[in-house]
């Protein structure tokens, strides 16, 4: 059995979970077994994970699991993994998954690889690849233990809804008391969080000041994209900290990354160079970012960015 823990921040199953189940189903197919999804806490419609390939959805709808605690979750996931005879346990490489993967590996005496972005090969040993050195190289790992634990990098695999919803079932599992008390949680509503975003519009110091961000927000709104920024912009408080992408900020791998007025320092590239398509707008033709870009525009971003928004409007009207 392949067991996938479906993340459900704020009681919502999100794209990252659908990707993880899609991935789990493909791993299960390759191994000649089935995929089960595990949902923890109050979540509506856990059975929908059947659409992404889960033959079975286990939903532990217990209020003690509404808040994430790595110690409690590890105990519960490991218990379920043993009960279903999981050979592979998959989590998302999310804030929860990153806290869990090391713990689960120890608890299950399993080999683990964190942040995988490709399907494993299972003939002649279980091997799987991930990006290392902040995207400057790819390493292939071999896991030799009977049980394996993987965390899946977001946007690594397209979601496939090939199955149909199933009826979620429960399971007898001991839930230990949590030692961690959640006091407060603040999240931004209404936008796709950066790690999940497929389209990202980002801007840097070339914007000259926070009052000029309207053109970036307009382009993002037209695209349905999430906004991001470079480190100096977050450090000076022009934009909120959670928008900062790069090595010290959030690492992302969207389908499209549009960068306006960002020179492309190596620390910035480390957080965005796994994006599928990169568009760079900069008035300096020597900006290092152009070397990492797919499409480059040398020009004044205050003219170019609104022009892209206009062209998108025209394109949408015509299609």
């Amino acid at each position: 059995m392949v067991l996938v823990l479906a993340d459900s921040p704020n009681g919502q199953l999100k794209k990252g979970s659908f990707e993880a189940v899609t991935y789990g189903k493909k791993v299960a197919d390759a191994m000649g077994t089935q995929c089960a999804a595990l949902v923890l806490g109050s979540v509506n419609d856990a059975g929908q994970l059947g659409q992404y390939g889960a033959a079975k959805v286990i939903h532990l709808n217990n209020d003690q699991l509404n808040n994430f605690d790595s110690q409690v979750y590890t105990s519960v996931v490991a218990d379920v993994a043993k009960q279903v005879g999981a050979q592979v346990v998959i989590v998302s490489h999310s804030s929860a998954g990153k806290s869990l993967i090391g713990r689960l590996a120890v608890r299950l005496d399993a080999g683990s690889v964190a942040g995988v972005n490709q399907l494993p090969t299972v003939d002649g040993g279980f091997k799987v690849k991930k990006n290392v050195f902040s995207g400057k190289a790819i390493a292939e790992y071999e896991i030799s233990s009977p049980v394996k634990v993987l965390s899946l990098m977001g946007n690594s695999i397209p979601v496939e809804a090939t199955g149909s919803a199933v009826t979620a079932e429960s399971m007898e599992v001991m839930i230990p008391a949590s030692k961690v008390t959640v006091k407060d949680r603040k999240t931004i509503d209404g936008t796709v969080p950066l790690p999940e975003a497929e389209l990202v519009v980002s801007a840097g110091r070339g914007m000259k000041g926070p009052e000029n961000w309207g053109i970036i927000e307009e382009l993002a709104a037209e695209l349905g994209a999430t906004t991001a920024c470079s480190r100096p912009v977050a450090d000076t408080g022009w934009r909120p900290h959670h928008e900062h992408v790069g090595q010290t900020g959030v690492a992302i791998r969207p389908n499209l990354y549009i960068a306006a007025g960002i020179s492309g320092a190596i620390q910035h590239l480390a957080g965005v160079n796994s994006s599928k398509v990169i568009v760079v707008i900069n008035k300096d033709p020597e900006a290092p970012f152009f070397k990492a870009a797919d499409y480059g525009i040398v020009g004044d971003l205050f003219e170019v960015v609104p022009r892209i928004t206009e062209s998108l409007k025209k394109y949408k009207a015509a299609n």
Partner: protein, 244 residues
């Protein structure tokens, strides 16, 4: 308060990465203390010690060639250091060695960086916490301690979460925890006299190892587009790149 800070050695951020066979080519590469361990975990540990008293010990798993990096940690202000004399073959072996040492020390706080900039796994903190049966708060952007109660704020998707937890705990440190400190001359001189204890490792098994490396496919040359003609960009994003 006794604080243990786990520090790793990584290639410097701008280092050129290459491989000879299946080995990482270290010739010509400058190594540094993993920035998240140094800027965030170590500096916050020192700030907490300055506010509450206690001690800060740094621990590294690696060969004697790591000593300059460990000495830098002492120069920034750690009281003493421990080096487990073993190659850190995997996250799990490193975590097992550190846990073995941590069991002897009754530490209130064990800090790591959010991840290393070489293997980007973010696993050692969680492994340590599990091996020591302690709570683990990852990606912390703020940490305060009052008696035996820790108040931690951590990064979650699109926001932050504040939690309270009794020490001892393991915390991984992200941006916001502290600001980088540059060692001063006095610190550098004092670091030479601070204890750096070398411990021979016990046995530690692991289950996951790198078998090969490859370089990412090179980007095709950038396609430059006339800044007056953004219809062309939209067309290419739709028809060629197929991302919109």
């Amino acid at each position: 308060m006794k604080i243990l800070v786990c520090v790793s050695k990584t290639p410097e951020t701008t280092a050129k990465i290459s491989f000879s066979g299946t080995d990482f080519e270290t010739a010509g590469v400058q190594f540094i203390m993993n920035p998240y361990d140094e800027w965030y975990a170590l500096v916050r540990a020192l700030e907490l010690k300055e506010a509450h008293g206690g001690s800060v010990t740094i621990i590294n798993v690696g060969p004697a060639s790591n000593d300059p990096i460990i000495r830098k940690g002492l120069a920034i202000g750690a009281d003493d250091a421990v080096r487990i004399n073993a190659e850190p073959k995997s996250a799990l072996t490193a975590a097992k060695y550190i846990a073995e040492y941590a069991k002897t020390g009754e530490f209130d706080l064990i800090l790591t960086g959010k991840e290393t900039i070489d293997y980007n796994g973010s696993e050692v903190g969680g492994m340590l916490a599990e091996l020591l049966d302690l709570p683990y708060i990852s990606y912390a952007n703020h940490l305060d301690v009052n008696g035996t109660t820790a108040m931690v704020s951590r990064d979650i998707e699109g926001g932050t979460e504040q939690v309270e937890v009794a020490t001892p705990i393991v915390v991984s440190a992200a941006k916001g925890m502290a600001e980088q400190r540059i060692p001063n001359m006095r610190g550098i001189m004092m670091a030479k006299r601070k204890p750096l204890n070398v411990i021979e490792p016990g046995a530690a098994s692991d289950h996951a190892n790198v078998v090969s490396y490859e370089m990412p496919q090179g980007k095709t040359a950038v396609k430059m587009i006339d800044p007056e003609n953004m219809d062309e960009l939209v067309r290419l994003l739709h028809e060629e790149a197929k991302v919109i």
